[in-house]
């Protein structure tokens, strides 16, 4: 809010307008005056008022009608109704229409001062909250999902399409492909983005715990239940629940889950009361659920409830072109965390990463980069910082000729020393001039 809140006083009685103006000016507010509802609407179109003090009973457009117009013009304006004793009922009706509060004329000086201060503080909170939410929504867009490959572009497109709907989404893909990030992006781009995003790793919870975790429990429901606890479905109300490793839940939990999805209500463990919930379900699995259905390990009806839309996240080996981008992102992330200047990666190290088949997918790549940054001593990630033994492909890749082998070796050492000739010469156990001669001879050039 501006340092000096702008207040519009709307009243057909000049004495009321003037006395309020005097009072508010003494309090340092900017004050505007309107003698009718029609004028107030015109003034609201010209300028955004922070607070409007609006008389309920006016000739022409009355307070209620003016209120509706003002809210339509600027929903962020706080409106305080002014009324005589006889019209308190209407003032209450006005509050239902969106007025902040009402004051009975004449006011106690205390009342108006406290109420206006309350409105100003409330507006500051509302605006701050809005700002934070916008920042958060922006942060959560697709920032954390990295990929320029065609397959990832298709996934982004699909997220944009399905996010605004309320349909259940089943996210499939191998372990470590970033299924939770996809679920978060769906939530962040949905109409529920201001509601909670609650993640449950079903695979990590034993069958005895999952029911109480999902649906909560009443005090005394079982030994140790010494207080009532809300379950994840209750916590996720008006938001999204992400059920990770959904393929791992027992048949009993599948039935409970199906009931929640169908009825949109459940009861806590040990409780009778039915609790309504408005939750969007996002589920993920690395299992073949269709096969599990055939094997009678997963209910077909639950599968179709969850699988309204499927997003399949490909394994990293199927989108190797995303590796350089992912590596850069992880280097930036961990250098920031470790308070280090961002480093680069040598071309040989990057090539090694591109040649690997990544069974642990993006998560494994992230761990490899984090480890390399911890153990690496240079201002570059080198092949030696990676936890892989040279594979067959790399060995086959080595030149057979001794001269080319020498050239390759000099390139590696120069890279490792960021082309610091003195240090590279020391590592190679030759003098600087000899190194210069060899660079000249082999026409070695700086790479990335």
């Amino acid at each position: 809010m501006r340092t000096k809140p702008h207040i519009l006083v709307v009243d057909d009685e000049v004495a009321i307008r003037e006395s309020l103006k005097d009072w508010l000016l003494e309090d340092g507010y900017e004050v505007g005056l309107a003698d009718s509802g029609e004028n107030a609407v015109a003034m609201a179109k010209e300028k955004a008022w922070d607070v409007v003090l609006l008389d309920l009973k006016m000739p022409g457009m009355d307070g209620l009608a003016t209120l509706k117009h003002l809210i339509k013009i600027n929903p962020e304006t706080e409106i305080l109704m002014m009324t005589a004793y006889a019209t308190v009922d209407t003032a209450i009706k006005a509050m239902k229409e969106g007025a902040f509060d009402y004051l009975v004329k004449p006011f106690d000086p205390d009342e108006i001062e406290i109420l206006i201060k309350k409105i100003v503080a409330h507006r500051e909170l509302v605006l701050e909250n809005l700002l934070l939410r916008r920042q958060l929504a922006k942060k959560n867009e697709f920032d954390e999902i990295i990929g320029k490959s065609a397959v990832m572009q298709k996934i982004f497109e699909l997220i944009s399409l399905v996010a605004p709907t309320d349909s259940s989404v089943l996210i499939t893909g191998e372990s470590g492909t970033g299924k939770e990030l996809i679920a978060k992006a769906v939530h962040a781009n949905s109409n529920r983005c201001y509601g909670p995003f609650i993640a449950v790793n079903c695979g990590a919870l034993p069958d005895s715990l999952i029911e109480s975790e999902l649906f909560g429990y009443e005090k005394g429901a079982f030994t140790g239940a010494d207080h009532t606890r809300k379950g994840r479905f209750e916590l996720a109300d008006k938001g999204s629940i992400f059920l990770d490793e959904i393929g791992d839940i027992s048949l009993k939990t599948q039935i409970d889950l199906l009931r929640v999805l169908q009825e949109k209500e459940f009861s806590r463990l040990g409780g009778q009361k039915l609790i309504n919930t408005d939750v969007r379900v996002l589920a993920a699995t690395n299992r073949d659920l269709q096969r599990a259905i055939v094997e009678n390990k997963f209910r077909e009806d639950l599968y179709y409830r969850l699988n309204v839309i499927t997003i399949h996240v490909p394994p990293l080996r199927e989108r190797l072109e995303d590796i350089p981008l992912l590596v850069d992102a992880f280097i930036n992330k961990y250098c920031l965390e470790m308070n280090k200047k961002p480093v680069k990666i040598s071309s040989i190290a990057l090539k090694t990463l591109m040649n690997y088949d990544w069974p642990g997918n993006v998560r494994e790549l992230e761990n490899v980069i984090e480890r390399a940054l911890v153990i690496g001593r240079q201002n570059k990630i080198l092949r030696a910082d990676l936890p892989f033994a040279p594979n067959k492909l790399e060995i086959e890749d080595l030149p057979k000729s001794l001269k080319l082998m020498e050239k390759k070796h000099i390139e590696i050492i120069l890279d490792a020393n960021s082309w610091n000739i003195s240090r590279a010469a020391r590592d190679l156990e030759i003098d600087r001039q000899t190194l210069y001669n060899k660079i000249e001879k082999y026409k070695i050039e700086k790479t990335r």
């Binding site: 009685e13 003037e18 000086p109 108006i112």
Partner: protein, 187 residues
């Protein structure tokens, strides 16, 4: 026009109180003061349905009856005053104007069912008159509870605050005063 404040009793007001207020204005703000002859009871401002006097009407009357070279004219009355939208006020001033009015009615301890205490009344009246004088110099309400420019919605607010400006309001007051003097002396 000299920096002399005219204190004008409106209706019957104890002269001791008026003198005390004049001394306070001299000590706290450095102004000379003069007590003018009394204006009659402000019957013209009486509102029968409220059994109170409209302070705005009294203020208008003061403005209309001030002489052309008035520096500041402060009316002091013993009647209960109000502005139309509020149940009561302790005082009313022209923001950046020349006139103000204060009422002693709700400053008396007996209004709050307490035993009469002349010193408490004087202390409250002093704070109220300095507050209204501050408004006539363009000062608005201060957020510091101890500053005399803090808004007094209840008598407890008046009792809590000091009869002087906080350092910030004091600076502002001096700045406004210099500006007013420049205008008055034509420099």
């Amino acid at each position: 026009m000299q920096n002399s404040i005219i204190i004008c009793p409106i209706g019957s007001v104890n002269i001791e109180i008026l003198k005390y207020l004049g001394e306070c204005l001299t000590n706290q703000c450095g102004f000379e003061y003069r007590i003018s002859s009394a204006m009659g009871n402000p019957d013209y401002a009486y509102n029968e349905s409220r059994s109170q006097y409209n302070s705005k009407t009294i203020l208008k009357h003061l403005i209309e009856n001030r002489s052309y070279n008035t520096f500041r004219l402060i009316g002091v009355t013993d009647v209960d005053i109000y502005v139309p939208i509020l149940k009561y006020v302790f005082g009313l001033a022209q923001l950046e104007g020349q006139c103000a009015i204060i009422s002693l009615y709700r400053l008396r301890p007996c209004f709050y069912d307490q035993p009469p205490n002349f010193n408490i009344l004087l202390g409250r009246a002093e704070k109220t008159i300095i507050h209204e004088i501050g408004h006539t110099f363009g000062l608005t309400h201060c957020r510091k509870r101890s500053c005399v420019m803090y808004s007094s919605s209840r008598i407890e607010d008046t009792d809590f605050k000091e009869p002087c400006f906080c350092p910030t309001c004091n600076e502002l007051f001096k700045w406004h005063l210099t500006a007013v003097n420049k205008v008055n002396t034509g420099r």
